[in-house]
């Protein structure tokens, strides 16, 4: 069993937890993920590792309560245990040798962009961190991000905090202003990663995206997380999750990720219905 040591609410539906998982913490690196099950009959869900502490043997995860499983996870408290927690899975991000990087995070993706920026910053790279949120209410990790980069560009879709802009606009301006990036790392909703890749394509800047596909086992067994990269089938769990953004077929991946949307919505409804029943009691 894997104990929840800390729990923090980052915004209305985004929570952060620190989990006791020494086996995972021992080897975890930026870019890798874990798979957890909340309880005995639970679904296996992948979540990217937000940070790790090898000495304490802990892993931090950040998640948005969107499906039945993440909602159930959000109801647990410090001291409760997760039934299963396996990792680190996937290949670590290849950050070696990068001197100047733009890291682009969108919404919850900032939880994953942040450790990448931090790792690069600690390696001595110059990091421009562009973080985009829908509005001011869902901004997470602002202080942490500011401490993990050279320049933080925080923007919102509606201008309710900082500048009203899309991350791609900011990125393009920075490139046009003469910043020579060795790489752009984009983590966020697929649609955002797609447009970041389209923004950098004309400039020929290497662009790395993190593909968090639907998966079951996370070790290469099910093939459910497959995506097309440069016309070849790749598995996000063992070949990724990082891929060359200029080669990923985002349109296909976006449609694949929507496969269980209807069933998910139904499961959430059933879950909320149960919660309601509990409250009535």
């Amino acid at each position: 069993m894997y104990k929840i040591l800390e729990k923090k609410t980052l915004n209305a539906n985004t929570k952060q937890m620190v989990i006791d998982a020494p086996h995972v913490a021992k080897k975890a690196q930026p870019g890798q993920f874990i798979i957890l099950r909340v309880d005995e009959d639970g679904e296996r869900i992948p979540l990217t590792i937000a940070s790790y502490d090898r000495e304490k043997g802990t892993i931090m995860i950040i998640f948005q309560e969107v499906g039945a499983t993440t909602k159930k996870l959000g109801l647990l408290n410090e001291g409760d245990c997760l039934h299963d927690f396996v990792g680190p899975l996937g290949r670590a991000s290849e950050l070696e040798g990068l001197k100047k990087v733009a890291v682009v995070g969108g919404g919850l993706g900032c939880a994953i962009a942040y450790p990448q920026a931090k790792a690069l910053h600690e390696m001595g790279a110059e990091v421009d961190l562009i973080a985009g949120f829908r509005n001011k209410d869902i901004i997470i990790l602002e202080d942490e991000m500011r401490a993990a980069c050279t320049n933080l560009h925080l923007v919102t879709d509606d201008g309710s905090n900082g500048r009203k802009a899309l991350v791609t606009q900011v990125l393009k301006e920075l490139i046009d202003a003469g910043n020579q990036y060795d790489a752009v790392i984009a983590i966020g909703p697929m649609i955002m990663m797609k447009f970041v890749a389209e923004t950098t394509r004309p400039y020929g800047i290497k662009t790395i995206v993190s593909m968090n596909s639907t998966m079951v086992d996370g070790t290469g067994m099910c093939g459910g997380c497959r995506l097309s990269v440069g016309g070849e089938i790749k598995f996000a769990c063992v070949d990724g999750p990082d891929f060359d953004g200029h080669l990923v077929d985002f349109d296909e991946s976006m449609r694949r990720s929507a496969m269980y949307k209807k069933q998910e919505a139904h499961a959430v409804e059933a879950h909320e219905c149960n919660l309601h029943k509990m409250e009535v009691k």
Partner: protein, 465 residues
């Protein structure tokens, strides 16, 4: 006087039209009377040809003689001298191509129902054996087993019985490997697999679940942790796809994914947390046991029409005869000499709508010795579908080979190990099962695990001389 009936005592089964709607076991098993009657068909031949057909060398005539005398617990003990998982083997072994095909009774009539008797004896022992499992005296040595499938479980059991402290590392949240995630409940109830695993725990075997060797720790890390020898039985888990257009439409599953969702993640239960597409028209591509399992599972998940699409003819089907027979009885439609050309989907919903197929004819024999299927020009047709399950094989997982320097693998990605002892190119590392052979059977994996256990024992003892 032996019972000279030419046919086996029939196996009681659920009616096909009832069972294709539930996940309960298809064959319900012999009664004691049936078992004794079938056991008396054994001639107890001196040269025991059946034993030579068994990868783990079960003492078949001896255990059958005990069944004939009604000594069921003694019969179970006799089987357990050589086989770690009799309740599993009695159900899923391809007896018709192993022990039973060597049986002299098969020269005229049907072989003795060795598999059915093994299953009866194992089930009887599970229900009636109250003897506590005694932990063997520790021999002071520590070994590791990677993968809790049939190869690993067998290897772990044999080493534990010799007094080794055995730790089994398993990537999934449940031990059992393909017995748990792959073979469906209606063919191999999970409670039976769990019981076999519990028996190993009682022997002192330690299971570490949620631990991916190659990621959580490497093989070299395990040696550094003090394990003196390591058995790798990580299976052939990586699914092969067809590489035809449209293969990434929603509703195209690998058999691994489909069966894992249904079995391991229990998607067949109404309130399961893991989602699955409840398709009405399903095609399963492939002709092996896994294809049969997937097709029969899809039917039970509520599909009205289920096709097996296979590019060769019926005679070439690699699946066990019993599975093909059961599938036909349950209403699975076989499309022989048919090859998929393209999966068709709705551009808006991205869901599967059909599969374009091509008719084949058999040409000259190929490298496998089977006649090669050749496409017939202009024979394309479309099957209307809402799901396609691809069951055309698997290859070994790359996680261990890519993180273990000095471990030789072949061009198919299989670990190179000698068949007799499972010895690999890396000192102290042994391997067996699908990780070495590519996708094969449960019993072959068990045989490899057993031989490797003996070799590991010898290795550790020699090293400590």
């Amino acid at each position: 006087m032996a019972n000279m009936s030419l046919t086996k005592v029939p196996m009681p089964e659920q009616d096909p039209n009832v069972r294709n709607k539930n996940f309960e076991e298809v064959a319900t098993g012999y009664t004691a009377e049936m078992a004794i009657e079938e056991a008396t068909r054994c001639l107890n031949c001196k040269n025991k040809p059946c034993v030579s057909g068994c990868p783990v060398g079960v003492q078949i005539p001896e255990f059958i003689a005990l069944v004939a005398e009604g000594k069921f617990l003694e019969a179970a003990a006799k089987i357990k001298e050589t086989s770690a998982l009799p309740a599993v083997c009695g159900r899923v072994c391809p007896q018709e191509s192993q022990c039973e095909c060597k049986c002299v009774r098969a020269i005229k009539g049907e072989a003795v129902g060795i598999g059915r008797l093994e299953r009866f004896v194992a089930d009887y022992a599970m229900a009636h054996d109250t003897a506590e499992i005694v932990k063997p005296e520790p021999n002071g040595h520590k070994v590791a087993v990677v993968g809790a499938g049939p190869a690993g479980l067998t290897c772990a059991g044999d080493l534990a019985r010799k007094g080794y402290a055995v730790t089994v590392f398993e990537a999934l949240h449940t031990a059992g490997g393909v017995l748990m995630y792959g073979i469906p409940e209606f063919r191999l109830p999970k409670a039976i697999v769990q019981k076999e695993i519990d028996n190993l725990k009682a022997l002192g075997v330690e299971f570490v679940l949620n631990f991916v060797v190659g990621r959580s720790e490497t093989i070299d890390d395990l040696f550094a942790d003090g394990y003196e020898a390591i058995f790798v039985g990580s299976g052939a888990g990586l699914p092969t796809f067809m590489h035809v257009p449209g293969e990434n439409y929603n509703g195209v599953y690998s058999a691994n994914e489909y069966l894992t969702r249904v079995n391991l993640m229990k998607a067949y239960k109404e309130d399961a947390a893991t989602p699955i597409l409840r398709a009405k028209r399903v095609a399963v591509v492939g002709g092996g046991n896994v294809a049969m399992d997937a097709a029969r599972s899809a039917k039970r998940m509520g599909a009205e029409e289920v096709y097996i699409v296979y590019r060769r003819g019926e005679a070439e089907l690699p699946a066990r005869l019993e599975e093909i027979h059961h599938a036909k009885e349950e209403g699975i439609v076989f499309k022989f000499l048919t090859a998929p050309v393209e999966v068709l989907g709705d551009p808006d919903t991205y869901l599967v709508t059909g599969m374009k197929c091509q008719q084949m004819e058999l040409g000259e024999p190929d490298a496998s010795g089977r006649r090669r299927p050749v496409p017939i020009e202009g024979s394309e047709f479309v099957l209307d579908l809402d799901a396609v399950i691809v069951a055309i094989g698997t290859s070994p997982n790359p996680l261990i080979r890519s993180t273990t320097p000095g471990l030789e693998t072949n061009k198919r990605g299989c670990i190179v190990a000698d068949d007799e002892h499972g010895i690999t190119s890396k000192d102290g590392v042994f391997a067996g099962g699908d990780a070495v052979t590519g996708a094969a059977t449960v019993i072959l994996a068990m045989g490899a695990g057993k031989r490797a256990a003996a070799a590991m024992d010898e290795y550790v003892q020699n090293k400590n001389k």
